[in-house]
Amino acid sequence: MSVTVETGLRHGLTADEYARIEAALGRAPTIEELGVFSVMWSEHCSYKSSRVHLRGLPTTGPRVLQGPGENAGALDVGDGLAVVFKIESHNHPSFVEPFQGAATGVGGILRDIFTMGARPIANLNSLRFGSVAHPRTPYLVRGVVAGIGGYGNCIGVATVGGEVSFDPGYDHNILVNAFTLGVVQSDRIFRARAEGVGNPVMYVGSKTGRDGIHGASLLASAEFDADSESKRPTVQVGDPFTEKLLLEACLELMSPAYSAHLVGIQDMGAAGLTSSSVEMAGRAGSGIDLDLARVPLREEGMTPYDILLSESQERMLLVVRAGSEDVVRALFAKWDLDAAVIGTVTDSGHLRCTWEGRQVVDLPIAPLTDGAPLYHRPAVEPAPEEGARLLLRDLAEPRDYGHVLMQLLESPNLCSREWVYRQYDTYVGGNSVVRPGSDAAVVRLDGTQKGVAMTLDCNSRLCLLDPYVGTVSAVAEAARNLAVSGAEPIGVTNCLNFGSPEKPEVMWQFQQAIAGLRDACLAFGTPVVSGNVSFYNETEGRSIPPTPVIGMVGLLDDVSQRVTQWFKGEGDAIVLLGRNREELGGSEYLAVIHHQVRGPLPWIDLDIERRLIRTVLAAAREGLLRSAHDVAEGGLAVALAECCISNETGPPVGARIELESGLRPDALLFGESHGRIVVSVRRRHLTRLRELAHRDEVVMTSIGEVRGQRFEIGDLVDLPVLAMRERWRSALERTLAGRLGE
C-alpha cells in the first residue's frame, strides 16, 4: 500500500504534519510508520497543544523525587518511603461502554503506578455525568461505578474517595478520571528506560488483540473498509485478574531478589507497543529493534500495523539484562503469565520493526518524541454574556429555609455518595483509616506511624464562570479538605479536561486554568508532579465546561491524629473559622433553587486560605479537634448538616446553631464563600483554639453546640436529623431510579 497525504489525513494528521514526516524521513512512510507517527503525534501522546503551557507549572520542591515526564510523579515522605501518584482520564471509552471504559481506566492508571515499582494502595475517581434528567445518565452512572468497582475490587486496591457531579454540560461527554497512589522505597523507584545495547526487550502479560486500534481515525479510512468487520477497532475489555497477577509478578521482579535482572519497565497504555517502545528508547537515547512476529497474539490474521497500534490491556514491556531471560520467564510463569523476548536494545537511535523477514518500520526516535509538533494555539477570551452577573437584590428570598435545606440535601450534587462508594472495597489492604464519607481519605503507610491523605476536587460551574478563579478555588478546596483531615498538603496531580484546543475560547480557558493552577500551587507550596490533559471533550461542536480536576496529596506524621468531618459528642462546642460574606454567585443554591448559573464568583484570597490551614493543622496536631469540615458546595448550612448526618455508624447527632450576621439569610446559609471551616471541640479546648486562630489572624466564632436530635439554626431552620439523614442518604439511588418524589 502506498502512503500519501490523504492516508495521513485519514490518520488524523494535518497536511502540514504529514509534510513534516516526509521531510524528516526523506521519503514517504510505510503504512506501519504512518500509524506510529499518527499515534505518537496525537494530542494524547505528544501534548502538542498543551506542552508550552504546562512548562509554567511549579514542579520542584524538597520532596520531589520524580516530577512530570515519567509514568507518575513521586514524593519523598520520609522513613525511606515515597508516594507515587497520578490521575488519568478515560472519558470517551466510558461514554461508549461505561462498565468496560471505566474499568480499563482504572487498570491503566494502576499500571502507571506499579510500573515505577510502587505498590498501589489507594484509588480515587472523579466522575462527571450529564443532568440526572437525561435518559442515558442513570445507565452511565451505574455502568461507570460498577466498572470502577469491578476492576479495583478484583485487583485488591481500596477505592477510598473521589467526587461525583452532574451537569447538563456533560450530557454527551461524561468524564471519568481515575487516580492511583502507590508506595515504594524511595531508593527503589524504577524508570522507563531502554538502556544497554544488546539487552533483550521482553513482552509480558495478556496477548495482543485488535482492541481499540486507532479509534475513530482508522474507521474513516477507505483502505480498511474492504474487510471492515474484521478490522474494526473493538472495545477494550478489562481483565483485572490478569492485572493482579501482572502486578504481583512485576513487583516481585522489582524486589531486591530480582531487580538486578531488570533494566527498564513501562506499561503498554494508550498507543500500546508503539509508545512504550518509542518512549523507553527516547528517554535512554537508544534504539529498539522489534520482531513483531514474536508478539503473543490473541487473534488470527493480525497485521504488523494492528500489532503496533493495539491497545490491548494488561501488558508490560521490559528491558532486561542479557542472559536474564530465563529467570524472568520463570518468574512470570510462577504467576501463570507469558513472557516473550520480542526485540533488542540498540544504539541506532531508531525504532526498527520486522515482520516475516521484512522491515516494516525504520524510524528515527527523535522526531517521534522531542521532534513532535508543538503548537502555540490562539487563545481568545469569550465575550461576557449579557446579564451574566447576579444582582442579589433581584433574587427573591425563600420563605421556608428548612425546606430549602432539605431540597439541597436531596439535590444530585449535594446528596450522599454512599450509593457509589459502597460498591467499592474500601477496606482491602487493611490501612484505610478514613474511608469515603469525610473530606479526604486517609491511608496508613504500612510499617510507619504516618498516613497519607488524598482528595480530588473541582467545581466545574466555577470554572465555567471563570476558569482562573475556578481553578484556584479547586486547589484551595483540595488543600482545605486535606487540612481538615489533619494532613499537610505536599503535592498535586491534575487532569485537565477541556474541549477542542483548536477553538480559541477553549484555549483561553485552558491557559487561565493553568495560570490558576500555577498560582495556587505556588501559594500552598505543593508542586505538580504528574498529570494528564484530555482535550476534544465535545460533541457536535459543544464543549464540556472546563474541568481541571485537582488531585492533592497530604501527609500526617501521626495517622492517629486524623480528623473526620462528623460531630462526635453531645455538648461539644461548634466553631466557625473564617468569615461569612454575602456571596451567592456560582452556588448550588442559586442553581438548584433559582435555576441560575451566574457569577460573580466568591472572593478567594490564598493568604487567608494558607493561614486558615495553618490554624487547623496546628489544632489537629495538638489533638484539639473532635471534628473538622470545610465549607464548600451548599454553603455553611449544608456543611453543618453534613457534620450532623454523615457519621457512618450510630445515629445522627443534632446541633443548635446561632449565627449573628447582617447578611441576607440565604447568602449566610447557602453562600459558598471560601476560607471557612467548621470544627467541633471540647469546651475546655476553646481557649487554646482561640490562641491558635489569633496567632494566624483567623477569624473565629463560636456558633453553637452539638446537642439533641434536631438541627436548628436560629429561627431559620428546625429539622429532625433522622429525617435529614434518611433523605440525604437515599437521594442518589432514588434520583437514578427516577423516584425522588416518593
Binding site: N153, L245, R422, Q423, Y424, Y427, V428, G429, V433
Partner: protein, 243 residues
Amino acid sequence: MKWGVITFPGSLDDVQAAHVLEDLLGESVVRLWHKDTALDGLDCVVLPGGFSYGDYLRCGAMARFSPIMRAVGEFAAAGRVVIGICNGFQILCEAGLLPGALIRNRGLAFLCQSVHVRVEDADTLFTNRCRRGDVLEIPVKHGEGCYVADEETLHTLDAGRQIVLRYTDGEGRVTPEANPNGSLAAIAGIRSASGNVFGMMPHPEHACERLVGGEDGRKIFLSVIAAAGATAEPVAAKVVSGP
C-alpha cells in the same frame, strides 16, 4: 499455635489475615502458595478473601481445584481447623467442605459496608470468646454473598447448630434491612457438621484494630486460639454437636 494462610491467584486479603495473626495476635504464620501440597505441622488453615481466578465463572469454582485443596480436604477430615473468609467461604462451598452455595447479592451490586452479625452459638471453635446473642460489628465486601441451600440442608444446619453467625441489626434483631445480601435464614457464617470447618462472609481480619475497622473481629481468631490452647489434640471431636 501454627497457622497457614493460603494465597490463590487473585487472593487479596491473605496479607491482612497474616498481618492480624502475626503482628497483632503474635501467632506463628506460614504463607502457603496454592501450588503447595502439604500442610504438615499446622493447626489451622485460613482461606482468605479476594477474587481467586477473578471470580470468573463462579466464585471459588476454579480455586477449589488448586493443588493445595486436596491437602485442605485431608486436613479437614483429620479434624483440624479450617476457616474460609468471604472468597474462602465460597471456595469451601464449591469444594463441598461446607454445604450450600453463595450467589449474587439480592441487590446485584457489590456491597462494602460494616454490618452486624449475631453469635448464634458460643460453643464453637470460632466463637467461644463470645456469648450467645452477642452482636459483632464487622465489614462485608462482596458481590456474591447470598447464602443459599435447599430446605433440607437448611434444616440440617439448624438442627445441627451449624449456623454460627446471622446478619442482624445493631440490637441483634433479624430484619430484611439488616440482611445485606438476601442470604437465606440471614446466614452469615456456618460450620461443618464435624464443627472444625468454618466459613463466613464478613471479614473479621478487617476488624482487628481500632484505627481501621474496629476490634470485634479479633474474637473469632482469639476463639480459635483459645480452643487450641485447651487441648493439644485436634479439637473437632470435642465440640461436635447436633444429631
